[in-house]
């Protein structure tokens, strides 16, 4: 949102967030190392590092993946989403230490380039039990790298929100790759029921949360009803919208948020220009629609971010017949002024 890009726009919450991340990661490594040294003291230092960071990375990945649906199911989780990119970058660092050590330990100092070795030292690509699982981890690490490297808002702007979003959706592919990496790799040789169970439960939790959220999302978005003359669509009663909040409707396959504030109604496209956050789940603060994800703001009557910011969202025209709200499904050019319609019924 800023015009100058800084590494991190620090604020109190981000600092707390990062302290929790660092503390949890250190705690994990300490416990892992401690338990190993007590119960399996004959390990080697490289194996200790590889396993501590590999298992840390996959646990962090699960936490990252559940934050999205959790915050959509209950807005009180929203602060977790706010700085999730730091969690993502931290997870990448853990995965990188794991992958880097593995790459060095198992593939370097040999007769070929270590990366070439990852792909060619085991050619059993057509076997499940013998599959070269390192390849899966390597590809996942590349995706995490791309995501971590482009996690800054600078790239968001320069890649366009859509491309960026697509890139970051690859996290699900990476998750699948990592799960296969573990089940076709380490677990083929060195696992007890407990670890397999832990990851199976993790997978179920991630999958279920996503499914439940998806269902809720669909339910929350109201379909528009019968047509009025000139293509106006009937949406809802004024009273169904809370003050300073919105309701989301699907209009011509696009989601639109209708806000009620100060006895007025305005409609804008539901998708935030930042990372595509659901504006209709946001709130009017200081007269601006405020995105629930990272707090980008837009004026309700024209979809423009207040100066000095320059983001613009498409606005829609509304009409009131009695207490019934209608919307014109034609999206206006982004940033077009639309006079809010008064609705002083309550």
């Amino acid at each position: 949102m800023g015009l100058d890009y800084q590494w991190v726009l620090w604020n109190k919450h981000k600092k707390t967030y990062d302290k929790v991340i660092v503390f949890s990661m250190l705690l994990y490594i300490l416990v892992f190392v401690g338990v190993t040294l007590v119960f399996k003291p004959e390990t080697s230092i490289e194996t200790l590092v590889i396993r501590a960071f590999g298992s840390l990375a996959i646990i962090m990945l699960h936490v990252i993946l559940i934050i999205g649906p959790l915050s959509r199911l209950d807005s009180r989780f929203m602060p977790l989403l706010y700085n999730r990119r730091h969690l993502g970058v931290s997870m990448f660092i853990a995965a990188f230490i794991h992958g880097g050590f593995s790459l060095f330990q198992f593939h370097a100092l040999g007769d070929v380039n270590p990366v070439y070795s990852v792909f060619t030292s085991n050619m059993d690509y057509n076997s499940l039990t013998n599959f070269p699982f390192q390849v899966l981890g390597f590809l996942a690490l590349l995706i995490f790298f791309a995501m971590a490297a482009t996690s800054h808002d600078f790239y968001l702007k320069n890649l366009s929100t859509k491309t960026w979003k697509r890139l970051h959706m690859l996290v699900y592919l990476a998750y699948a790759l990592v799960i296969m990496h573990v089940f076709l790799g380490a677990f083929q040789q060195d696992s007890y029921v407990a670890t397999a169970l832990l990851l199976a439960v993790g997978f179920l939790v991630v999958a279920l949360l996503h499914i439940v959220t998806g269902i809720k999302e669909v339910r929350k978005t109201k379909a528009t009803k019968a047509l009025l003359e000139d293509g106006w669509l009937q949406v809802c009663q004024v009273s169904e919208i809370e003050e300073d909040r919105a309701k989301i409707f699907t209009v011509e396959k696009e989601r639109v948020a209708i806000f009620k504030y100060n006895g007025k109604l305005s409609a804008i496209h539901n998708v935030c220009k930042h990372q595509g956050g659901p504006l209709g789940e946001g709130k009017i603060i200081d007269g601006c629609i405020t995105c629930p994800w990272h707090g980008y703001q837009y004026l309700p009557h024209n979809g423009q971010s207040p100066p000095p910011f320059t983001e613009k969202i498409a606005a829609y025209r509304l009409k009131l017949v009695g207490s019934q709200v209608y919307i014109n499904p034609v999206a206006l050019a982004e940033g077009t002024e639309v006079t809010p319609i008064p609705c002083n019924h309550e």
């Binding site: 892992f32 004959e42 390990t43 009180r76 100092l109 060195d190 990272h294």
Partner: protein, 284 residues
């Protein structure tokens, strides 16, 4: 703010009480996950072998150099007891690059007494040494000491896994199996002698240096079989504390034995697999 109306904006300092409570609970849950996760992952590791790699400590050994067919040093322990120490280079390579200087200087070093300084690797009665510098190999005497007697034991079938002895006997844990396969492939491809590690029903292990039918190194041909459970047949020879197995890779069969975790048994010299005992009996 009422519970329902709480709305978090990251760059504003205020956070509603209900939100704050929820976040605290989440952090507690994460910390629990950290403790349980780390505990489970760490505790669920298979036991490691008590193999040793003296990474930071150098030892000097003296013995007779021979290639049978892999470079080794026959070291005199106590009267008439010998140990054949496998010579290795840095990383995933054999000793050849470190022997070139001395070969250039002294000509043929076969069956001559050498002094070698390096890092020892040992487990289960077998010893290897990693040489890091050509200067660490010196010639002690130009006398040629007669060749080692190699006894033919017989033909037999063994089940086990082809491992690279450098990692298996000390450098890596685990130094075998699926996790380690790629590394073993690199090591053997880099010239480290391939070894068949067998484990019998009593978890007693025996090791065989693999060669082709003519007794030549088999590094290249064995690569596709490394790190998997196999049934191998061949001609067994005994060379003091090492067995050699001359094989044809065409005769190798994959097996599905899952127990390749040779536990902490230390078996010294002659405790061979059951198969092997039979073979031994037959040949005598």
């Amino acid at each position: 703010m009422s519970k329902k109306d709480e709305f978090y904006v990251g760059y504003l300092d205020e956070v509603g009480t209900s939100t704050r409570k929820r976040l605290k609970r989440f952090v507690v849950a994460v910390l629990l996950l950290v403790l349980v996760g780390a505990g489970i992952f760490a505790f669920s590791q298979r036991p490691f072998k008590n193999s040793t790699f003296e990474l930071t400590q150098e030892t000097e050994i003296e013995g007779i150099y021979h290639e049978s067919p892999y470079p080794m040093l026959k070291v005199n322990l106590v009267d008439k007891q010998f140990k054949n120490v496998i010579l290795l280079g840095f990383g995933k390579s054999n000793a050849d690059p470190y022997l070139q200087d001395i070969k250039a200087m002294a000509g043929d070093i076969m069956n001559k007494k050498l002094k070698v300084k390096g890092n020892l690797i040992y487990y289960n009665g077998k010893t290897l040494i990693q040489i890091l510098k050509p200067e660490n190999v010196t010639i002690v005497s130009d006398d040629v000491i007669p060749l080692l007697p190699v006894k033919t034991v017989g033909v037999d079938i063994f089940e086990g896994e082809v491992i690279d002895p450098k990692c298996y006997f000390g450098v890596m844990k685990p130094g075998q199996g699926k996790i380690h396969r790629s590394c073993a492939v690199r090591c053997i491809s880099g010239g480290i002698p391939p070894v068949l590690a067998t484990t019998d029903d009593n978890a007693i292990s025996e090791y065989f240096l693999l060669t082709d039918l003519e007794g030549k190194p088999i590094n290249e041909a064995i690569l596709p079989f490394v790190g998997k459970n196999l049934r191998v047949n061949g001609v067994v020879e005994k060379m003091e504390d090492w067995y050699l197995l001359k094989i044809d890779t065409k005769g190798i069969v994959y097996t599905h034995k899952t127990n390749v975790y040779a536990a902490n048994n230390s078996c010294q010299s002659d405790c061979a697999s059951l198969h092997f005992r039979e073979a031994f009996a037959r040949s005598h």
